[in-house]
Amino acid sequence: MKITPEITRESITNLVENDKREDGRGLNDYRDISIETNVISKAEGSARVKLGGTQVIVGIKSTLSSPFPDTPDLGVLMTNCEMLPMADPTFEPGPPSENSIELARVVDRGIRESELVDLEKLCIEEGKHVWMLFIDLHIIDNCGNLFDAAELAVMAALQSTKLPVATVVDDEVVLSEDETFDLPINKKVAMCTFVKIGDKMVIDSSLSEESVADARLNVGVTDGGSICAMQKGGQKPLTQAEILECVNRAISKTKELVEFI
């Protein structure tokens, strides 16, 4: 448990009151973003994202699996997150923490609910064989706003994903050794995360801003402008006006973010 000194809280809050921030950004500015894809040759798809000092690696692995009984003609997506102890002095090894599970689920929601992966095309034989994609999030450096960095990384990794061509011969799935196909993706999604400091909503929070924030709001938006995932976090409430303001800002800001993917 890290205690934030009162003087830090005051200085950050005072800056935000005057529409300023510690690192000189405006309240609606992101830090520098860089995305590299195909960083893991053993993974079917991968990406490394830097958002300021925050770094996330995503690897996508596939296996053949049987479909869920209620969706016999759809492939399966699974999102896992490891908040590695290397990323932050307070992260501990061991089973995923609540924060880690929340991060994985919120990121997963953006991907799943936007239906950007055409899961029907991941079905090899209805009721029997489908592709199962594991999306593994590795947080390696935590300098704040893991949500947006993770969503960018997952999106970029999915776009770089190639699967072997599968055919069914005598009830068995045969995978081609040299032929691959691109993962069928029909849109992009990005996430904007806001934190409430004083009376203002600040985008792309730094670590010190997160430590003094009262509440958090994640907004996932597709490149078509529809909202596909939201989550409120933090101990204090948000007003309706604050939420609507964030949604509005997220819709215009995600247009810039998807350009990076």
Binding site: I40, G53, I57, L84, A87, D88, P89, P93, P95, I140
Partner: protein, 230 residues
């Protein structure tokens, strides 16, 4: 020793291409990134900090704790996240391999954490992890007597060779990973599995020691690069 060429075009005493970078992470007190062959390894070091795990606390010296972890996407068939018996063992011997070089007596009741993440694996990750961890420990500014370095030798097709690739490790007959303190030549880690005669073992050990010396130079170059520019 004959001048045969291995499956990947290397000579018997040739290392895979290796690259080390110091200070790659912002939050950690020290960090390093290493690539050797197809291996990609990240290491972060925290500490010395007050030991918050009471059972690890020593009143007269600091302690080192390692965590070796493989990313689920680092291998061909996805690895289930979390520790297994193999990574627990490697974590322990890595801590033991690094400990002799650290002057932790100056830091009673404290703890140094070393986190080794295998982002992509292609044979020889434990030695690569130790090599990278030492660089990260230096980067963290922890007083050390020496920079520990790891390297493996092994036997493939009845011949003793240096730095086994994943393919050679799978198909080979023996694997001898070591770690050493290059200034004194003391060995801080030694394992061996497979089938080796006494003579072959001697050859393998000598070869691995030579390999360590080569890698040691690359470690030092990486640190000089970091502190010459930074």
């Amino acid at each position: 020793m004959s001048e045969f060429i291995r499956g990947d075009g290397r000579k018997y005493d040739e290392l895979r291409p290796i690259k080390i970078e110091a200070g790659v992470l912002e939050r950690a007190d020290g960090s390093a990134y290493l690539e050797v062959g197809g291996n990609k390894i990240l290491v972060a070091v925290y500490g010395p900090r007050e030991s918050y795990i009471r059972r690890l606390l020593e009143p007269n010296t600091g302690v080192i704790r390692c965590r070796y972890n493989m990313a689920p996407f680092s291998v061909d068939d996805r690895k289930r996240p979390g520790p297994d018996r193999r990574s627990s063992e490697i974590s322990k011997i890595t801590a033991d391999a690094l400990r002799p070089a650290l002057m932790l007596e100056n830091y009673p009741r404290s703890m140094v954490d070393v986190f080794i993440e295998v982002i992509e694996a292609e044979g020889g990750t434990r030695c690569a992890g130790i090599t990278a961890a030492s660089v990260a420990l230096v980067d963290a500014g922890i007083p050390m007597k020496d920079i520990v370095v790891g390297c493996a030798a092994g036997k493939v097709d009845d011949r003793v060779v240096l730095d086994l690739s994943e393919k050679e490790d799978k198909e080979g007959q023996a694997d001898v990973p070591i770690a050493m303190m290059p200034r004194t030549g003391e060995i801080t880690l030694l394992q061996s599995d497979g089938d080796l005669s006494e003579e072959e073992f001697q050859q393998a050990l000598a070869l691995a020691v030579e390999g360590c010396k080569k890698v040691s130079k690359i470690q030092k170059d990486a640190l000089k690069r970091k502190y010459a520019t930074g």
